[in-house]
Amino acid sequence: MYQYDSYDRTLVDERVAQFRDQVQRRVAGELSEDEFKPLRLMNGLYLQLHAYMLRIAIPYGTLSTAQLRKLADIGRRYDRGYGHFTTRQNLQFNWIRLEDTPDILAELASVEMHAIQTSGNCIRNVTADHFAGVAGDEIEDPRIYCEIIRQWSTFHPEFSFLPRKFKIAVTGSPHDRAAVKVHDIGLRMHRNEAGEIGFEVLVGGGQGRTPVIAKTIRPFLPKRHLLSYLEAILRIYNQLGRRDNLYKSRIKILVDSVGVDRFTQLVEEEWQQIRDGYLDLPAAEIERIRAFFAPPPYRALDAQVPEYEAALRRDFRFARWVRTNVTPHKRPGYAIVTLSLKPTGGIPGDATDAQMEAVADLADRYGFGELRVSHEQNLVLPDVTKADLYELWKQLETLELATPNIGLAGDIIACPGLDYCALANARSIPVAQQISKHFSDLTRLLDIGELKIKISGCINACGHHHVGHIGILGVDKHGSEFYQITLGGSADENAAIGDIVGPSFGATEVVGAVETIIDTYLHVREGGERFLDTYRRVGLKPFKEKLYAAH
């Protein structure tokens, strides 16, 4: 993975000193809260319901074990011994003190981490496929370009006060695990007819109040133009994005209001002025960064691993876990393991400091000292030999990280919701816990099959409910918590925004509604249809009818 050189280190170190000074000036009264707020947001520090929340950047979801141990240590010493992995591959600590934050950032800097631009109206963490580098269908490792974009966007002087936040995602595979179509800019790596690898550039996707699927503005962009093209897009947005209405400030609104053709024209006109200049991406920099993502020293292994296959036959619980939590690796004899942070009845995405320490040990022992964070709030050990899978599984079980539910109804994505978040209208965690407990029968979960349930506590959609197969949105109705359900959303290359099923459900009715939806699906599904396939075939009607039959 990427390692800092002296320039990278100087930047984060000076940033820590700068923020320390800003905190001191705030406490001394030289900065008002209004003036300080954007500064602390640009260092990832929110003021939430109960305390400050620090959102630490995990660039493109890749962590070293040294970094994970530091996060565990910070959680232990400065927080309450746990952290929350988010839908943008970051980590949040919920009980932070302002006065500790400069020290925390200094500790993060010592392991090449930071909280830069994880909030604020600037370019945020550039996210990627959590199977980058190891997925069989990958064209090129997207993280190389995520790192390039990360650096270009860090403290970009022109784009630090955008109309609103800006999120970029990159996929290096045709099967999009990075949800690029619901990002402000999505980049999809692919080959043109000449066999060259470049980017399809999509703009204006997003969730929130007005969910939109991104539009393609350039089908193929050669790599050397990556930064100049992004600069053109951001410049158009910075100039023309609305500044008068918080809810109409994202780039998706701009693309919609001028139309994608006109928007494309504006970008292309600006780009023509700045292309082939000082923003040309040097091939030397691509190669320098590519070297950090070179394959680790894989052993030449057989695809067939007798002891692994024997374990599958012998231990049905192991086999069940492999079926859902293990993904084929591009190298023979290796496997990708997803650690479920969704234990039955647990809080989605949370991990204790003890779990983090243990996972770091496992990543060292059963890998190359690296792990991933997925936007579905799970962790990934990317390079486990098949021969080691059984041993690993047993250890994950003792750590409660082996619930065999990845991609199933128990693998719920949920934002922190009203329990923590100052923006929320309703709680999301208890709903996730109830659904998880209701569907705790693993046999049943497997029978239901792939089902992505995503819960947001407010319309900001940090739980990505719009792209859930079943999406649940918490709303405040007359001071009580109600939940609106959407169906048929999807975040992959066939991205879709879910359809609202009808009037919202009270807190005690939600689980029953989800049960009804799943029963309906089980009743009408054909062949090996997943929930999403059935929904696409039969539409909203059968679900709506069953849900509101009594009304």
């Binding site: 705030r26 406490v27 305390a51 329990d419 709680r427 965690i429």
Partner: protein, 104 residues
């Protein structure tokens, strides 16, 4: 009869606090100073705003509460969560009996 208290987050550590007697800020809503009516509430908020200017708290505001003599309970559920702590992590909160009991 509208009862209100002033709440805010403490600047230095972000913790939820309530304005109590003598310009103190406390973490237990049970010790909060209760304003009864519009004018007392405005006066209480003004004290809160001074504390913000003095960098003790951030963003003070009034919340509606009810009081049965023994306990002070916020009207809005959001404020109940702020007063008690997250429902998802009872260990991190303040227990209802300790928190909501009004102290004499």
């Amino acid at each position: 009869m509208a009862l209100q208290v002033v709440t805010a987050n403490r600047l230095i550590d972000g913790r939820v606090v309530f304005l109590a007697d003598g310009y103190r800020w406390v973490e237990e809503i049970g010790s909060a100073r209760v304003a009864d009516g519009e004018e007392p509430a405005k006066a209480l908020l003004a004290i809160g705003e001074k504390a913000a200017a003095d960098r003790i708290v951030v963003a003070p505001y009034l919340i509606d509460v009810s009081s049965d003599g023994a306990r002070i309970t916020p009207t809005r559920y959001r404020e109940v969560l702020r007063a008690l702590g997250p429902s998802s992590h009872p260990a991190f909160g303040r227990s209802p009996s300790a928190t909501l009991a009004a102290q004499r």
